[in-house]
């Protein structure tokens, strides 16, 4: 999730506030696929298809709404992007209610409860964990090794430099938005049995995602892993020693502490102003 947000930010310097809704779409698509077409055994196929569908949706949104920012029609870009993606979020959320109703759908389990050594663990969680790690690895591999991945790194690091190399940046902006949302979509599909499927199911992961990238510093990919771990640790420590009901608050306190020490996050860099 954070991966997706940060990826889009890194490439286009835009925050997509409707990430959680793409997550939700991914979950919905997955649910429909599993209950009507594929059946629970082929859940992994569902994840791939959901991610693909969300990818196209994301690319389309970028094409229609975000791209004009770069061709220079729109002033006050950050404001524009924020408002549009927020509106997008509410739009999608309510569209989902409109279509699916405010009900909670429970997709079939991906795997039964299992045991690791002596520790009982829900199969769904295990699947989600492995799936997420797999996605991360895949994404990392794609970014580091493939030509397209290199081009993305290029765009993030030096927009004009990558143009002199002959990369069509506008096309890659669109791809980046698509891939970023697809990551969210895949996440939604993977986590569907845990968070269940309903119009608001993208919310919790989004809060986590944003907290993680603020802690990590925008645009830093290795920072995300560190920040994710730190956040996880802070939350479990807080739950263990203080009170488990206020998990979210520990994360926020951590965020506040880190930001008061390092205003741009752990790995973020300050920009030169004048």
């Amino acid at each position: 999730m954070s991966m997706g947000i940060n990826f889009i930010y890194g490439i286009m310097k835009v925050i997509n506030w409707s990430m959680g809704e793409f997550f939700m779409i991914g979950a919905f698509v997955q649910y429909i696929l599993l209950t009507s077409f594929l059946g629970a055994t082929y859940w992994y196929v569902g994840v791939v298809i959901s991610a693909l569908i969300v990818f196209f949706l994301g690319a389309l949104v970028q094409r229609l709404l975000i791209k004009p920012m770069f061709v220079g029609i729109i002033e006050a870009k950050m404001e524009y992007a924020t408002i549009v993606t927020i509106a997008m979020a509410i739009f999608l959320r309510n569209l989902a209610v409109l279509i699916g109703g405010p009900y909670i759908y429970t997709p079939p389990d991906y795997a039964g409860p299992t045991q690791i050594l002596t520790l009982p663990i829900s199969g769904n969680r295990l699947v989600a964990l492995i799936g997420a790690l797999f996605l991360l690895a895949l994404f990392y591999y794609f970014i580091k090794k493939s030509w397209t991945g290199k081009a993305f790194q290029g765009v993030a690091q030096n927009r004009s430099g990558v143009q002199t190399a002959g990369v069509n940046v506008l096309k890659y902006d669109m791809l980046a938005f698509g891939i970023g949302t697809a990551l969210a979509g895949a996440g939604g599909a993977l986590l569907a049995p845990i968070f269940l499927v309903h119009p608001m199911c993208g919310l919790v992961p989004t809060v986590r995602g944003f907290e993680i990238i603020v802690i990590a510093g925008l645009g830093s990919i290795p920072g995300i892993l560190v920040a994710g771990l730190t956040l996880g640790i802070a939350e479990s420590l807080g739950s263990a020693f203080i009170n488990p009901s206020f998990v979210d608050i520990y994360g926020f306190i951590l965020l506040v502490i880190i930001l008061s020490i390092k205003p741009y996050g752990l790995f973020g860099k300050a920009e030169r102003e004048v």
């Binding site: 290199k150 081009a151 290029g154 690091q157 030096n158 004009s160 190399a165 002959g166």
Partner: protein, 240 residues
């Protein structure tokens, strides 16, 4: 033979402010052409306009006979124009190797050619080959400039445009860079160079243009410039 010609181009970034006014110039095949002038004269803008970062308001740009003033940067690259920016055109978080690889973007499908070019570039810049895996962000200014040159000639361009090759570098490295440029030119690449270092530009160029306030003040073979260049600078300092 003229490879690139700019015909009466007017261009600017902000509405109503023309940085270039009715500029015409020509780049002859196989030669080094230099553009000099005080800062603010619009030298860099000429290059940006050619490469499609900026589209002219009026006038035409022709490359090998084809009009290109409406092309986008990536199309320019595909046509065989390379452009080394004045600011860094490298990627600080990528290795030297990857930086060069991105220079081969346009023919990335052709694995053989990519490998061949990589080898050639490393032969050309032995220093870079020693530090292949290092991130570009850790390189010194001089090496970074070399890396930029390497990245841009990776694609074997027909025309190489260079913006301020020597700015901010130590004198001995400056000499090295210009030697490199001459070597590149000898391999048959046409070069268009924008330079504040007038003496150096004069040394390497075959043709020169002098720009002032967005207009071409003087242009022609370098011999025309050689004699009274000091006088010209003084005059431009004192001019009314």
């Amino acid at each position: 033979m003229s490879m690139l010609s700019i015909e009466n181009v007017t261009a600017g970034y902000v509405e109503e402010i023309d940085i270039l006014r009715d500029v015409s110039l020509e780049v002859k095949e196989g030669a080094i052409t230099g553009i000099i002038g005080a800062n603010g004269a619009g030298k860099s803008t000429v290059l940006k306009t050619i490469f499609g970062f900026l589209h002219p308001r009026q006038g035409k740009i022709k490359f090998q006979g084809r009009e290109i003033q409406n092309n986008l940067p990536y199309q320019m690259k595909e046509m065989g124009i390379s452009y080394m920016l004045q600011e860094h055109s490298t990627f600080h978080d990528l290795s030297i190797n990857d930086n060069l690889l991105l220079g081969a973007w346009t023919f990335r499908q052709d694995k053989k050619r990519v490998n061949r070019r990589m080898e050639e570039i490393y032969n050309f810049f032995p220093v870079l080959s020693e530090r292949k895996a290092e991130k570009a962000g850790y390189l010194s200014g001089g090496l970074l400039r070399m890396l930029s040159v390497g990245k841009e000639i990776m694609s074997e361009p027909t025309l190489l445009m260079i913006d301020e090759p020597s700015v901010g570098l130590q004198p001995n490295i400056v000499t090295e860079i210009y030697d490199l440029l001459i070597k590149i030119a000898q391999q048959g690449t046409t070069i268009l160079i924008v330079d504040q270092n007038i003496m150096k530009a004069l040394e390497v160029s075959d043709y020169m243009y002098m720009l002032d306030m967005g207009e071409v003040k003087q242009g022609g073979p370098k011999e025309d410039f050689e004699e009274d260049i000091r006088e010209m600078i003084k005059v431009s300092l004192m001019a009314e």
